[in-house]
């Protein structure tokens, strides 16, 4: 729906009443126009008909569904939960700082408690001792909630593929994975904006039935079970 920029002045289609008539009259006519009533003191040719009238209204009224409006509101006001685990937390802190200012998009209210947050940025490595805590906090967050796994350690155990770490996909549904070790602040910003676009376009994210996802194990080939047991 491309909203074309149109000067409101006399150059409008059919030219509303009189050149530069006083504002009141122009207000009056557009209200009557929306009610489809006869516009006082307008020349008949100025009154758009049929399709032309439809286009005239459409250019001035934004029609949307409730879902899209709610999604627009939600996606522009994520409250990230501060979940600084390790090195990525320092880079997450610097997106709040002045250079890559996350406040430009309305996400600077970092909430400490999960009750007030709706975006969990998992920044750092999740150890096996920390995994139940992360899952519990994700459960205690209120709906609708999203999760960004920032950095390689969180998405795929990154530099350390050993006994102590768990990839976050193993125990909670993740929406956006931000690569990098640590990802630059701009990379995390791109990840958050990507999540914003995902939420705006389609509130019901499809690829995984979001709210029903219990653990989301990949399919681990069974023949490697013997190695290193």
């Amino acid at each position: 729906m491309a909203v074309s920029r149109q000067p409101l002045g006399p150059a409008g289609p059919g030219g509303p009443a009189g050149e530069g008539g006083p504002l009141r009259i122009r207000e009056l006519s557009s209200r009557q126009l929306l009610r489809g009533g006869e516009i006082v003191g307008r020349t008949p040719s100025a009154h758009p008909e049929g399709a032309d009238f439809e286009r005239y209204v459409e250019e001035r009224v934004l029609t949307t569904t409730l879902d899209r409006a709610v999604a627009w509101a939600r996606s522009n006001s994520f409250f990230p939960a501060t979940f600084g685990l390790a090195c990525c937390a320092i880079e997450m802190m610097s997106i709040v700082a002045a250079r890559v200012d996350v406040a430009r998009f309305g996400f600077e209210a970092f909430r400490a408690s999960p009750r007030q947050a709706d975006l969990l940025i998992l920044s750092g490595r999740v150890s096996i001792k920390m995994a139940p805590v992360v899952r519990r906090i994700y459960d205690q967050m209120l709906e609708p909630k999203w999760a960004i796994s920032m950095g390689a350690c969180c998405s795929s155990m990154g530099v350390f593929n050993n006994y102590a770490l768990v990839p976050s996909d193993k125990f909670m549904p993740i929406d956006v994975h931000v690569p990098g070790c640590p990802p630059r602040p701009e990379a995390l910003m791109h990840g958050i904006l990507r999540l914003r676009k995902m939420v705006q376009e389609d509130p019901e994210l499809g690829w995984r039935e979001r709210y029903g996802a219990q653990g989301t194990e990949e399919i681990v080939p069974d023949e490697t079970a013997g190695r290193g047991a």
Partner: protein, 165 residues
């Protein structure tokens, strides 16, 4: 107590002295070195000398802040009887009175216990410090597999760490 066969071996490598001592005499040796001036216990850490027996080693890095001199006290315990006296608590001196211990070794001995399985006798609070409380096995031992996710896409990945060949 400190006898003539307490110090098994002394090494002077790259300008740094190391004493290897009999595990039973660790507390008197550290007290003697403290009286000699090495009052600051910088670090207590474990080493797994896998192929050589006795396997589990515990190192005590001592520092004399006055003469800025460092010395390492090393002891080796086998895996079937990994028992060592802890240096953390205050001990009763033989002639009455109390010999102060090294509170700094508290967490460090717990880490050596957690990672290598060396049990420190009458340590005030010997529990696992880094791994979850109910974790089996001591991860830093050489024969403990490094674990982690099997890499799904390569079939020629090097076998797990295991002992060095």
């Amino acid at each position: 107590m400190i006898g003539e066969h307490t110090v098994g071996d002394t090494v002077f490598f790259r300008g740094h002295g190391t004493l290897e001592i009999d595990p039973a005499t660790i507390v008197p040796v550290l007290h003697r070195l403290r009286d000699r001036g090495y009052s600051f216990l910088a670090s207590v850490h474990g080493v797994d000398y896998y192929p050589h027996e006795p396997r589990l080693g515990v190192h005590y890095e001592l520092l004399d802040m006055g003469r800025v001199d460092r010395v390492t006290v090393k002891l080796r315990v086998p895996t079937d009887a990994p028992e060592v006296d802890s240096v953390t608590p205050d001990r009763a001196a033989p002639g009455g009175g109390v010999l102060a211990g090294w509170p700094t070794a508290n967490h460090q001995e717990r880490e050596v216990y957690d990672m290598f399985g060396v049990v420190f006798r009458d340590h005030p609070d010997l529990r696992r410090i880094l791994m979850p409380e109910d974790y089996e096995g001591h991860p830093q031992r050489r024969d403990f597999p490094i674990g982690g996710e099997p890499v799904a896409f390569t079939y020629n990945d090097t076998p797990s760490l295991g002992p060095p060949r």
